[in-house]
Subunit: 403 residues, 2 copies
């Protein structure tokens, strides 16, 4: 039986026998290992063609086929990233689908053999491109690189992600801004839902290009409106895909609004499937979301803020540009969170960042990503040990400090 | 006897006994191990307080306390740099002498425990700052960072380099531009010589700040004028310091002019002391200079050109921006020169460089520096084996190819 299930997603439905083999193996992709009694937090394993991923997990963002400033070796061996993100929008524009196809997919192109998740490009089309035009068909947009015109549809973003070959791919959605009128969000959710049906259809009609199973995740939208979020969560849950995502949060709304929406949505999204909170957030955001049943995260914060000289530590955040660190020769993080945090001093890192030296961005990025990965790993341990809530409450307090 | 020699440079000449102990230990710093019979090439060991350096050697440039874009761990463990360069001009301006003093010197500040050589700042004062004013006393210049006014003298550049704590420090010199009038160069050389006497005096009057022996190298100037170069080489040789440098080359003059000047100067500089050719150059330049008796090199070329997408290989140079590499998925360097050169493809590196991704600069820098370090290591082996000249001739031909 398990062998039949395993074959399900690999084989096209050319006949009756094949149809039988294509039964979903939903219960296989995500195994819940333990649950916290005081919260909705849980630990699990996400199974992908490129390896297993322990959850809760944070996924470093590798927008254009590179986690900015970090060698793949350091990403796997030192930071211990289990899965990274790629972006359909960026990869489609550069290097382009033809090159990725010739390379044998993104894994081979960028020499990364662990799992990859690709965002559909929805968020980027709406945040990076001017003069975009939205139709029922899809989104017409201009490249932020050279102004050239392109169209993304629910179908072609599946096709592109098939070529990219990510282990987890996302349905094309519209991410409404915040704040936003109810009526705009209502229409936007309806469009995202219509697009989802088309994305699922295309996904089911096509096979992985590289022979490795891919999972499609749909995205709950609805802004900060509870009823629209409920409607969207029900639609997304009904799609019956192997995992589900929540988009359109951490776009400017207060953290409490975000937490409320997570609760509203997670009460509807199936409990036995992984829940991915897109583009979130601060270390405290992660812990609060884990508490509410989220399993997966991505965010540019550890790398982008790191490049600007912001460091996350277990005692709070450090703005390394602050003059107070100019002659502080203590380690970047005395707790030794990463391979760099005890090697280099705050004064040295400050010197690099103030001088615009790339090494400063590299050290800060390695440190911050290591911190995020260690944080979710520790959350996992605490959930398993049964003392997550207490640990979370004390951590959230410390993480909010400014050193 | 050897113990007496060893103490020579450490102790101030306050009395007769101290004077006896201050005899030079010239023969100790540089040990020549083998000589090529067909050329002036030789191999040796430079002994410093932070470790031995096999020669010929190439020194990666770490201008402001960082070899741009490279973790110190990778610099030592992967690239196998034996010694790196720092720059007095940059370090004096940022982080500044006070911070370096509080840190315990540059080695501790930047977490690098292998040898360091610091340039005196002469070249930078003349190449980076506008409105500089030259007097017998020294050079008045404006910071390229904030326009603030500063003065460098032969004395204070020794003092600053004492605080920095580099193993090898350089005398303050004027580096004349090319092309340049004979009379300008003649006066410039006279000034550099007058400055040298003052630098040597200050050097002998002061002790290492961090208790680790430092060596002062003077710099031969004289543009492309043989008689001025001879005069300068004689002056520098007569200073009797532990090693000697040749400056003012590779500033625009044809390579053959440079090689001729090296021959003129090396015929005068003592054969038993290390010879450092400053700011040179291409891989072929290195081999031709080794052939003419040069032992030490530094140059920004492997890192700066790397950042611009130029890669050095044993088969010639690659401009990775060239469209021909867009779908070339073969390794950056099939010879596996560095830890990155077989991991990443030309197409991927091109994608990174074209996208302005820092990882592109990092990969190219690691590759190029590894190539330079391997080139001088191979030269060393060929000299020891007695077939340097033949190898050099075939290498220079290949290195000049454009792939």
């Amino acid at each position: 039986m398990s062998i039949k299930l395993f074959h399900y997603n690999f084989i096209r439905p050319y006949g009756k026998i094949t149809f039988v083999l294509r039964k979903p193996r939903i219960t296989d992709m995500f195994l819940i290992e333990s649950r916290d009694k005081e919260s909705k937090a849980r630990t699990g394993i996400l199974k992908t063609a490129h390896g297993d991923i322990p959850t809760p997990i944070f996924m470093p963002v590798g927008t254009g086929g590179t986690v900015k400033g970090i060698l793949q070796r350091d990403l796997s061996d030192d930071i211990d990233a289990k899965i990274i993100l790629g972006n359909t929008y960026h990869l489609y524009l550069r290097p382009g689908t033809e090159i990725l196809k010739a390379a044998g997919g993104l894994h081979k192109f960028m020499s990364w053999d662990r799992p990859i998740l690709t965002d559909s490009g929805g968020y980027q089309v709406f945040s990076l491109t001017g003069n975009r035009k939205l139709t029922d068909e899809g989104a017409i947009f201009k490249s932020h690189i050279d102004g050239s015109r392109h169209v993304f549809t629910p179908e072609n973003t599946i096709d592109i992600q098939r070529v990219i070959g990510a282990d987890i791919i996302m349905a094309f959605d519209e991410c409404a801004p915040w704040p936003c009128e109810y009526n705009y969000v209502r229409k936007s959710v309806a469009l995202t839902h219509q697009w989802l049906d088309r994305a699922v259809k295309r996904f089911r009609e096509t096979d992985p290009v590289w022979g490795k199973e891919q999972f499609l995740f749909p995205i709950v939208q609805g802004g900060t409106f509870d009823d629209l979020r409920r409607e969207s969560a029900e639609k997304i849950a009904a799609a019956g895909l192997e995992g589900n995502a929540i988009g359109g949060l951490s776009v400017g709304e207060p953290a409490d609004e975000m937490y409320r929406i997570i609760e509203v949505v997670n009460a509807i999204l199936p409990d036995n499937k992984p829940r991915y909170l897109m583009g979130v957030g601060t270390p405290a955001n992660l812990l609060e979301a884990i508490d509410r049943g989220i399993d997966m995260f991505d965010c540019v914060m550890p790398t982008r803020n790191g490049r600007n000289g912001m460091l996350f530590t277990g005692e709070g955040t450090i703005n390394i540009r602050n003059r107070k660190w100019i002659d502080d020769f203590s380690p970047v993080d005395a707790a030794g969170t990463s391979i760099v945090s005890q090697v280099y001093s705050k004064a040295y890192l400050r010197h690099l960042v103030m001088s615009g030296e790339n090494l400063g961005a590299q050290i800060a990025s390695i440190h911050n990503l290591s911190f995020y990965l260690r944080l979710v790993k520790e959350a996992r341990i605490k959930i398993e040990e049964g003392n997550f809530r207490k640990w979370k409450d004390s951590m959230v307090k410390k993480l909010s400090e400014r050193l």
